[in-house]
């Protein structure tokens, strides 16, 4: 190994530039991969959440804005549809009026739901401290993990939401999906917030105690939620029911393209790094032809020569990979820390991304080293000793 390190740094500048090429590739892979990972887990969480239920909003709601308010009594009509076991009114609105321009994932939000259907919910939330909301917990909230810093929340303390103080009763564990950027509160408190946000002309037409802007429909076991959604759409007027497929079509496939672009950029960087290893190793071998001849003359086998040069190429990959991963991890940490105050976490550096980045750098190095190593084993001993 010492000999391989010595060989690597015979031409320091050339080797360092090659390592730098791999570093850039792995840095790009780590950062882009962490971004993709964050989005993937967010989407996976959404996919899991929506997998066994139907969500209902007002027929006039659009994706671009918050759902249009509806009367909570609409739940009774939905509940009559065959296959439905429970319907819970829900409220979803943004936490802050000045929404951040760019959000990776859902913006910080306020969520509330009728507790009567809680027992049917399969997506369970756990708490790092405190407890879940109970029925009648007016003036109390639970806070998502990504909002703790932004809201300076702690159990027993208070947080100011829409100008009013609420007591924090629980801090949620990280779910890596939507609840991380949400504040949960009693539905009556949320109804008031939603009502206050409405234009005066609409306020006059609605009862603040009957207002919601969505329903979560829990379904009987074995019922296809997508089919049930279309039945609900047919049987209940003025609403738009969607099953898990809608989420999959609208969000998950879009993120697939996004992922492909991110990984594509990173892979192109790595390809360039790989080519620079081929170049460096080939040049290095052509300078060491005589040595290869000597080694073969004194008994080096094909596998000895192959091993030597593939190890060298793999080592270049590993060093470049470790530096690239280290810089990537540092960048991810710095940006995430900076963004934590806004509750907008962009990156998620998981162990699988880290392991893959480093393993890939080594494999890339080895693959890039195959051609030069093959060139080395094919060296004619006599010619190498005479002319090398």
């Amino acid at each position: 190994m010492i000999e391989i390190l010595k060989n690597m740094f015979r031409r320091k500048t050339r080797t360092l530039l090659t390592i730098f090429g791999i570093t850039i590739g792995i840095f790009a892979f780590t950062v882009m991969g962490s971004m993709a990972e964050r989005i993937n887990l967010l989407v996976n969480g959404g996919t899991k959440y929506y997998s066994d239920k139907v969500t209902v909003v007002d027929a006039h709601s659009s994706l671009a804005a918050l759902p249009t308010p509806m009367n909570i009594n609409k739940a009774q009509e939905i509940a009559k549809v065959k296959g439905v076991i429970a319907v819970a009114g829900t409220i979803y609105t943004t936490l802050s009026d000045d929404i951040d321009a760019v959000n990776f994932g859902p913006p910080p939000s306020i969520t509330a739901g009728e507790s009567k259907a809680q027992k049917y919910e399969s997506f369970k939330i756990t708490f790092s401290s405190g407890r879940d909301l109970r029925e009648g917990d007016k003036g109390k909230v639970i806070v998502g993990s990504d909002l703790v810093k932004k809201l300076r929340a702690s159990v027993g303390g208070t947080v100011k939401i829409k100008g009013k103080d609420y007591e924090v009763v629980g801090i949620m564990n990280k779910t890596l999906t939507a609840p991380d950027t949400a504040v949960g509160m009693d539905i009556t408190d949320a109804q008031k917030i939603l009502y206050d946000s409405l234009p005066a002309i609409i306020k006059a037409q609605v009862n603040p105690n009957e207002i919601v802007n969505g329903f979560t429909v829990y379904i009987e076991p074995g019922v296809d939620p997508d089919k049930l959604a279309s039945v609900i759409n047919k049987q209940v007027d003025g609403i738009k029911a969607t099953g898990p497929k809608a989420f999959q079509d609208q969000v998950a496939s879009a993120t697939g393209i996004f992922n492909a672009i991110l990984f594509g950029i990173a892979l192109i960087s790595l390809l360039v790094g790989g080519l620079s290893i081929i170049n460096t190793m080939t040049m290095s071998i052509s300078e060491r032809i005589r040595e290869i001849g000597i080694k073969k003359a004194v008994g080096a086998k094909t596998r000895n020569i192959m091993k030597e040069y593939l190890t060298e190429a793999g080592l270049i990959g590993l060093i470049g990979g470790l530096i690239g991963w280290g810089l990537g991890a540092l960048t991810v940490m710095i940006i995430n820390n900076a963004m934590e105050n806004s509750g907008n976490i962009i990156f998620l550096l998981t162990s699988r991304i880290s392991i893959f980045a480093i393993a890939f750098s080594v494999i890339l190095g080895i693959i890039a080293g195959i051609y030069p190593a093959y060139y080395a084993v094919k060296v004619n001993i006599v010619k190498a000793l005479r002319e090398g």
């Binding site: 000999e3 010595k6 060989n7 015979r10 005589r290 040595e291 001849g293 000597i294 080694k295 073969k296 003359a297 004194v298 008994g299 080096a300 086998k301 094909t302 000895n304 001993i381 006599v382 000793l385």
Partner: protein, 300 residues
């Protein structure tokens, strides 16, 4: 009587230059005939041996007369599809046969291009003969698989080259350890054996020096230490004093003779009559053949 450790029968090396597709094919065809002949010999199929031997002799005869196209047509016509090219056949060796016994100290002399180094390279299994057989300790090396040659080189053979050919990034000790590494000797034993070899050549105090920190004579001593470290049956030295002054030449030859007295066999290719004079046998080569041989009862 000393054991014969190296024997050559009709060793023939042909260099083919120019547009040589057909000549190369002819060379390969003869090699195939050689293998068939060896296979028949192994099976002791007398009828087949005779047929193959006749074919082989005829092919070699044609080939040596540089009538490779005809030899192709007569002997291996079924493989020949291309028309005659403009290949030029040059015999670097032309039917060399000799035996080397244990404890020999042989010098090979001759003018440039006489085939000395080619012969040495083939004996050292660094190059392949077109025809002929090489036996090391009675084993026909030309019949064994190419992938087994490195093992034989690292265990049975040692090499010393004119320009020392040490690995510049390795210390003297590491250079000497190289053949042992490829022979699969463990690190501790490798170090011990390499140190002993360096002490034997008088460089016990230079083991951690790199080649560029050593004089030419010292570098050649390191190369000799590397050649003896695996206790080879035979050491091949190609112009081992070629880059040394007369004082260093004497020193290196003293070392060679000391090792030879201890039982080490050497074959030395040299232009230098002073080096040859100190050996036990001198083979004079010309035009790829051993022209004459001079044996001396005693070293001077």
């Amino acid at each position: 009587m000393a054991e014969t450790i190296l024997k050559l029968i009709n060793l023939n090396k042909t260099f083919i230059l120019g547009n040589h597709k057909n000549a190369k094919k002819a060379q390969k065809a003869i090699q195939r005939l050689q293998k068939k002949y060896e296979a028949a010999s192994e099976k002791n199929d007398k009828g087949r041996i005779q047929v193959e031997e006749e074919l082989l002799n005829k092919a070699q005869e044609h080939f040596e007369k540089e009538e490779f196209e005809q030899s192709y047509a007569v002997i291996t016509g079924k493989f020949l599809k291309k028309k005659r090219g403009r290949g030029v056949v040059v015999h670097a060796l032309n039917g060399v046969s000799l035996s080397i016994e244990q404890g020999d100290l042989v010098a090979i002399m001759g003018p440039s291009g006489s085939g000395k180094s080619t012969l040495l390279n083939m004996l050292g299994l660094l190059d392949e003969p077109t025809t002929g057989q090489i036996f090391i300790k009675g084993k026909n090396i030309t019949a064994i698989k190419r992938r087994e040659l490195p093992n034989i080189r690292s265990r049975e053979l040692g090499f010393v080259f004119q320009s020392f050919n040490l690995v510049p990034t390795l210390t003297a000790l590491e250079n000497v350890m190289l053949p042992l590494r490829y022979a699969g000797v463990n690190l501790a034993r490798r170090k011990q054996m390499a140190k002993e070899a360096l002490v034997q050549v008088g460089l016990g105090n230079r083991i951690h020096h790199k080649p560029n920190e050593l004089s030419g004579g010292q570098q050649q001593r390191v190369a000799i230490a590397r050649s003896i470290v695996n206790h080879p049956s035979i050491i091949f030295a190609d112009e081992l004093t070629g880059e040394l002054d007369s004082k260093m030449t004497i020193e290196i030859m003293n070392l060679v003779i000391k090792l030879n007295k201890a039982g080490q066999t050497f074959i030395i290719v040299t232009h230098n009559p002073e080096v040859a004079k100190r050996t036990k046998r001198i083979l004079f080569m010309k035009d790829g053949k051993i022209e004459r041989e001079l044996s001396k009862p005693k070293l001077k």
